[in-house]
Each structure stands twice: as C-alpha cells, then as structure tokens.
C-alpha cells in the first residue's frame, strides 16, 4: 500500500510540473507576440529566459517519467498519463523555442514602420495563444472533447498563415525594400502556425490519455480545403482567390 501512496504522490508531482511547464510555454508565446506587436524590447529578454526555464523543466519531467516507469511500472490510465507527459513536454519545449525564435527577429521587425497592412499577425497570434491555453486546459481538466476542438481551430490558423503569406509576398513584390522585414514576418507567421500544430499534438495526446483512443492523422485534418469556417475571421477561400488574382495582376504590371 505504501508504494501506491508514493506512486500517487509522484503522479501528482508529474501533473503539477507539466501544468507548470505548460503555463511557462503559454506565457512565452504571449510575451513573444506582445514583444513584436507592441515593439517592447524588455519582453525579448523575458521570453529568452522563459525558453531556458522551459527547457530545464523538460529535463526534470523527463527524468520523473523515466523513474516512474522504471520504479512503479505504471499501466492503463497511469501509463497513458506518463506517456502523454513524456510526449507533450517535447511539444511544450518546441512552443517555447518558437516563442524565442519569434523574439529573435524583433530588431528587424521593429526597425520597420511602414509595414502595417499585413494586420493578420496579431489576430493569428491571439488565436494561437488561445489554442495553447485550451490545449493546456484540456490536459489539466482531462477534457478530450475540448482537445478534439483544437483541430478545427488549427485549420483556421493554417488558413490565416496562407493569407498572411500571400499578403506579405504581394507587398514585397510591390516594394522590394520590404523583402527583409517581410521575410521575417513570414517567419513569425510560420512559427505561430507551428505553435498551433504543437497545440494540436498536445490535444491528440490528451485524447489518448483520457480515452485510450489513438487518433487517426486523417481525423486531425478533416478540412483539407483550408477554408476558414469560423466567422470570427471572416476569411474564406474567396479571399485567397482574390489575393491570388491581385498577385497575378501585379506580376503582369
């Protein structure tokens, strides 16, 4: 009976540490976005510090998971929890890395004042931060339904990435002096899109942890047409098409 008490204590610690690491990752993304959007240089150092802390926590949690497996041989729901923690700490670490990558391009993006039109970056960032938050909450609350909803929202982020990419490309073609900053903003959009993907990975592992069901990769991408169905963005395939047309017109000119 003693070993179960010890085991339960270890499992509680594991859950707490993962929640703490997730909270750091969320904070890193939030601050990275604010750093870029508000042009706040103080936050750059803060995000880099968070990234290091997240990496350190990944090592601590990995060690705890391996000890739990070696010393307590967890099975069933316990095994799924430990394996989920082992997997999602990699995603959380990557989210921290992407936050750090976002602030890395801060100087380049901050130096430009004439690049206001690709306004979807803040909106995309808010969607992504919400996804990270909900992925973490689904883990903490063991909510597989909330975890499944992340996949639809990922489609929306993918769609926004496409739109941003097209928009920025168009502005770079219009004004080649914007190529450096434009490329960096595309990178930021790409990092945000990858953070959304890692949130979905967390969601997928939460579904497995709660139900034992291994999600088919095809289930993750039911919407292959990349149509932004959520009315909050009001962005449809038509927007992409019209943007493609304007690109074409610009090229002809």
């Amino acid at each position: 009976m003693t070993s179960r008490i010890l085991f339960n204590q270890e499992m509680d610690k594991l859950n707490e540490e993962v929640a703490q690491m997730a909270s750091l990752a969320r904070e890193a993304v939030e601050k990275a976005v604010r750093c870029i959007v508000n042009k706040d240089p103080v936050l750059k150092a803060e995000v880099e510090r968070l990234d290091r802390e997240i990496y350190h926590m990944e090592q601590i949690i990995e060690k705890r998971c391996l000890e739990l497996i070696a010393l307590h041989t967890p099975v069933a729901g316990d095994l799924r929890t430990v394996s989920t923690c082992l997997k999602i700490i990699t995603d959380l670490n990557r989210i921290g890395r992407y936050a750090s990558d976002i602030v890395e391009v801060y100087e380049v993006v901050a130096s430009d004042n004439g690049f206001h039109r690709p306004v979807n970056i803040p909106h995309m960032a808010s969607l992504v931060v919400a996804m990270v938050t909900d992925a973490i909450d689904s883990f903490i609350r063991r909510d597989d339904r909330a975890a499944r909803q992340l996949f639809d929202r990922d489609d929306e982020v993918d769609c926004l990435y496409d739109l941003n990419f097209r928009a920025i490309l168009t502005y770079m073609i219009e004004d080649p002096r914007k190529i450096t900053v434009g490329t960096h903003i595309i990178l930021i959009a790409r990092y945000l899109e990858r953070i959304a993907d890692h949130s979905c990975n967390i969601g997928e592992r939460v579904v497995y942890m709660v139900t034992g069901e291994r999600m088919n990769p095809k289930d993750r991408k039911k919407s292959t047409s990349r149509t932004c169905v959520n009315s909050s963005t009001s962005l449809k395939q038509d927007d992409l098409d019209s943007m493609q047309r304007s690109d074409h017109d610009l090229a002809e000119k």
Partner: protein
Amino acid sequence: MVKIMNGSIQVKDLNVWFDQNHALKGVTFSIPKNEITAIIGPSGCGKSTFIRCVNRMNDIVPKCRVEGQIIVNGKNIYDPDVDVVEIRRRTGMVFQKPNPFPKSIFENIAYAPRIHRREEPSAKQKGEMVVKKYTKKELENLVEASIKRAALWDEVKDRMNKSAYDLSGGQQQRLCIARTLAVNPEILLLDEPCSALDPIATAKIEDLLVDLKKDYTVVIVTHNMQQAARVADKTAFFYLGELIEFDKTETIFERPKEKLTEQYITGRMG
C-alpha cells in the same frame, strides 16, 4: 470413452460451488489455441478454481459442485462419458511450488509415461489403436526430448540419476514442466509457476512458456501483473468469482474497458 482432441477451450456459463460458497459465477469465454492466456485477479477471486476446473481437479474436492460446460474441441469435458484420467493426461498442470517426486531426475520424467504407456496403430486391425509399453531406449529418448523441450537438458544431462531435490527451485519447476510434457499433453495449466522463483529462474520459465505455446495451449494464473503483460497474448481478469474482462493483453494493460480492471491493475482496488 470419448477421446479429447487438441484445441482451444470454450467455457460456457461455468458455475462452481464449494458447499454454500459460489466460487465461480457464470464464467463464459474462449481460450485460444497456441496462445498464452493469463488469469489475473485478487486472492480468492476464483483463478485457481477456474484452472482446476479445466482438468477436473475440483472433482476430488469434497462438496464441490460444477455446472456449465468446458468444451475442448467440441466436447464438453464434464460429459459423463469422458475419461477423466485421459483429460488429466492431456491437460498438464504445474503448481506454485515445484513438486518433483522424491526420485532421480530421470525417474521424475519417466514415471508417468511408464504408467500411461503409449498408443500406436494396430498391426492387426486397421484404424484401431493399441497400447504398448515403452522400450528402455524409447523411454530414454522421451525423457531426453522432454527435458530438452523444457530447456533444462544442458543443466542436468550429466546427472540424470541424481535426486531431483538437488536441483535449484527454477530447475525443479522446469523439471515439473518437462514431466508434464512427457505424456504429450495439449493444454498446459500453470498456477503461479514463478511465485517461488528468483528473477533469473522466472525469466527462463517465461522464455520457455513463449516457446511452448507453439505446440500447446497455455493458461497461466499469476499474481505478477508484469509477468502477465510480458508473456500472455490474452488476459482474463476475475473478481469475486466473476470474469470481469477478457481481452488482448495489451488492451487490458493499456486501455481496459472496465473500471474494476483498471483499479486492480493500477493497484487502486479496495
């Protein structure tokens, strides 16, 4: 007398009473051929009672009543026309504590074949079988083959006439398995065969069981959940005389369907 053919075991609505105690309650499931099936569950859940039903060992327990069917290849072993001795020959059993006879290693293996003798087609009448004694050479070959099959030969080949009690616990248990194999069974029942053994001897028995399942249907009762997870293809969880869950071992240990199963295997029962 009806002969039991080799094959899987189908258990249908099996109920066992020891006097007023209802030890097994409506157990129904099918044990596949050439696989290892582990029976797990807390003490007193009916695991041992169940496997003792498979070779009708409960017949000799006073005030024990068995209802339902255990069908081996289409024949209910509880039918009145079934030869119980034949059932026990074809259903080998190994117990928790190694129990070699107080005889030499050779005699431990040779004892049962000498009694059961062997069957061969009759030279006089086609389709008939006749029972014959083993010759000395045949018996030696059989003993050697059985001990080799139990992965014990290299350890005992030079001391076949020494007492079986001189062997270590793990060797004695493999000798008991070899003794079972010598009468050519189809089903092997093992009641916690490794609980008295160290990890090295346990690993040898587990390797042996995995090898033996190619030729035999193996049913193992174990309290060691990790042992069930390591060796069994299917696992049955018993609780208070009922079969709670029976499924592939990986399913039982990764995502059991029943809450009771999860509570038991994660040590959170009670």
